[in-house]
Amino acid sequence: MIDWTEDLLAQIAAASRVALSYPGLDGYPVVLPLPFTFDRDNRCFSMPIPHQTPSPASEEQVSLTLLYYDEQRKAERYVLFYGHLTETGNEWTFTPSQVVLPQWRSRA
């Protein structure tokens, strides 16, 4: 269960891209950097499916790392979501079920 606070929604709005991670058929992780749109009403992310990417071995064992560059700290920040993936035409839809905020945020 995710608490969709305004702070979390603001972080999603500030993110420049996501890294989608899923298990490949040979057991190696597949990670792809993708542009995204976020549907505030349905709380899900949509991403274009790249041409000829390795297929997911599972659409349930998926995570999404929201990434943004922190100019002040010269570092990359993230918010991690677990969830599941569905494929619709040329798009993936990722529906989050759990969010993990990094330790540095919870201590800020």
Binding site: V30, V31, S58, Y69, K74
Partner: protein, 162 residues
């Protein structure tokens, strides 16, 4: 190791952060940003370090198939536009948590010069931050998209160690 296309070396060497993906106990790959410490272009080995108490370290011990993603992060106009996914087998070296990783710190500091000053602050904020295991990745495969063009099929280099 096989010779890689020049642009793949460029994507690795000129990267700012990269995303290191390990697999959790629930079999979910998780990619989080890290600074690459070292890349050996002859053997292909990539080295990062990680606070030993992070789940990432245990993930790698239990499930050594990992991936590292290199792609632009928005740090500036000079960073390569290429996207490169390296899949490989990783091993944890926790023989010297105090200072083993410092042998490779130059590669981290080249990417993030402020790290030299911020380590003490990070240790205060996150106790154990400087007790770091090394993670060495031996690549099995490189999948790359020159200029980040996902409309093309990826260039794939399967690694053969002669």
């Amino acid at each position: 190791m096989n010779q890689l296309p020049d642009w793949m070396y460029h994507a690795i060497e000129e990267s700012f952060t990269c995303q290191f993906a390990s697999t959790t106990a629930r079999a979910i790959p998780v990619a989080l940003p890290v600074f690459l410490h070292y890349f050996d272009p002859d053997a292909g080995t990539l080295i990062i370090s990680s606070p030993v108490r992070m789940k990432r370290v245990e993930n790698v011990r239990q499930r050594p198939k990992v991936a590292i993603l290199f792609s632009p992060v928005g740090a500036g106009p000079d960073e390569p536009k290429h996207v490169l996914l390296v899949q490989g087998l990783a091993e944890v070296d926790d023989t010297n948590l105090e200072s083993g990783w410092k042998r490779y710190f130059a590669g981290w500091a080249r990417r993030q010069p402020s790290a030299r000053q911020s380590l003490a602050r990070m240790e205060q904020a996150i106790p154990g931050y400087t007790q770091r295991a090394l993670i060495r990745v031996r690549p099995s495969r490189f999948l790359g998209w020159p200029d980040g063009n996902f409309q093309q099929a990826p260039e794939v280099v399967e690694v053969t160690n002669d």
